[in-house]
């Protein structure tokens, strides 16, 4: 099974088989940044991966394309890998940073 790094931002996983792909799709679904879905034929879809279904008769992922209105659906069977190309918007310690700023302001 493929092992993701601590932070997947910028990760370009080398998918070896269906189990790896399933894992990468779950990580992409859980990721709060844009990704690039790379097709087996070399085509690419960029956007926010907001949904996936492994239980559907023809499993798929769905993305919101920054330039488009309607979601884009890509068949899992057509996917070679998913690159975590966008910034992780959930990363960081904003609460801790705010507390630090507040403490610093009090000390000043």
């Amino acid at each position: 099974m493929i092992a993701p790094p601590d932070s997947v931002e910028g990760w370009e996983p080398d998918v070896a088989g269906p189990a790896d792909l399933a894992r990468v799709i779950e990580l992409a679904f859980d990721y709060r940044g844009d990704v690039t879905v790379v097709g087996r034929d070399g085509s690419e879809w960029f956007g926010y991966l907001f949904n996936r279904s492994a239980a559907a008769p023809d499993p798929y992922v769905e993305l919101l394309d920054p330039a488009g209105d309607a979601p884009v659906r890509v068949r899992c069977a057509d996917i070679r890998t998913i690159r975590f190309t966008g910034r992780d918007t959930a990363a960081g310690k904003s609460y801790a940073a705010w507390l630090e700023r507040k403490a610093a302001a009090k000390d000043a």
Partner: protein
């Protein structure tokens, strides 16, 4: 209890109607998220961490109304994001009121006075501004990570009340909160003149920056007992007294994850308002394809282990009220005595 009689009647007839039809699972409150954009970045919130192009999007009013019609709940809660940033919030609320839906517009109130001045809303028994207030000035401003928000919200509450609107507050309580300060906060809100207060323990969103301040189950019981064991006569709560009893540890309920279904730009969220495990295209698909037994405190699901949040357990409390004579008696006693 501060829920108006007409609203209680609407909910009671709806629930009894569902039960008479033999529906095992039915929704009670639609959580309608027209956008994720917000003018705050609260530490406990896991709703707004998205790429900019997602935050710029919003549902159309027609999409919202389709969702309302699909699930058919008598109450619609509009959280977000900040719903007052939704460009069509006036039209959306107006359409919902015309459909006789009881609307809770959940807002941080930063933009409320501006929107009232703009004439976007008309007072109605169907519309309540549910203002996010996580405590007195110090606690609230810390929870929302910005100073001055408490004072802005208090000013907005006063103005909305002056104009004849229904105003309630919604409060999320986190680890480390001082029960005596919460009691003072309740006094302050009632003195302001709000119709009633709603509260819930926080949920530890995996995407929220602050992971250290969420309540665990036993501590939740202790905290709510400390807050509510000696309730003051003038405190009014705009929620089920049975849910408050549950928070105090007086009931051992299962979660009703379908009770407050959530609709947003991704679709119908599986399984609940708090967890995001996928999306369905229609409400019927949500109800039919979600494996409901996998969720709730008693399911053993790690993500649900400590959750006691209103969106899963208040529907259970309402079911308890209408599910047995004992449940109905418990509710009547708590309502009449004011003691949860």
């Amino acid at each position: 209890m501060s829920v108006p009689v007409a609203q209680m009647w609407t909910v009671a007839t709806y629930v009894l109607g569902q039960r008479l039809r033999g529906r095992k699972r039915y929704p009670l409150v639609l959580m309608l998220e027209p956008l994720f954009r917000c003018n705050l970045a609260c530490a406990g919130c896991g709703k707004i961490q998205y790429p900019a192009h997602v935050l710029k999007r919003h549902l159309s009013v027609e999409d919202c109304l389709r969702a309302v019609d699909e699930c058919g709940t008598p109450m619609v809660s509009i959280p977000g994001g900040e719903p007052l940033m939704y460009p069509e919030i006036g039209r959306l609320v107006s359409e919902l009121v015309a459909r006789r839906k009881y609307v809770y517009l959940c807002t941080n109130a930063i933009l409320l006075e501006e929107k009232l001045d703009a004439g976007l809303f008309t007072p109605s028994k169907y519309l309540s501004f549910s203002v996010h207030m996580d405590g007195l000035r110090e606690e609230h401003d810390e929870a929302v990570c910005r100073e001055g928000v408490y004072d802005d919200a208090v000013d907005a509450i006063r103005e909305a009340l002056r104009r004849g609107f229904r105003v309630t507050t919604n409060t999320t309580l986190f680890e480390g909160v001082d029960p005596e300060r919460v009691r003072k906060f309740f006094d302050t809100m009632m003195d302001l003149g709000v119709e009633g207060m709603m509260m819930s323990p926080g949920y530890s969103y995996s995407k929220a920056p602050d992971q250290d301040h969420f309540l665990r189950r036993k501590r939740t019981h202790e905290l709510f007992r400390a807050i509510l064991d000696r309730p003051k006569r003038h405190w009014k709560f705009n929620q089920s007294p049975i849910f408050l009893q549950f928070l105090m540890g007086k009931h051992d309920f299962s979660c009703t994850p379908w009770g407050n279904p959530t609709y947003n730009m991704f679709g119908w969220q599986k399984p609940c308002y708090l967890l995001q495990e996928g999306y369905a295209k229609t409400f019927a698909e949500l109800m039919e394809t979600t494996e409901w037994d996998r969720y709730g405190h008693k399911s053993g699901n790690e993500k649900c282990r400590d959750c006691m949040v209103h969106c899963g357990y208040e529907p259970t409390a309402v079911n308890h009220t209408f599910g047995s004579l004992r449940g109905f008696r418990d509710t009547v006693v708590a309502t009449v005595t004011g003691r949860p």
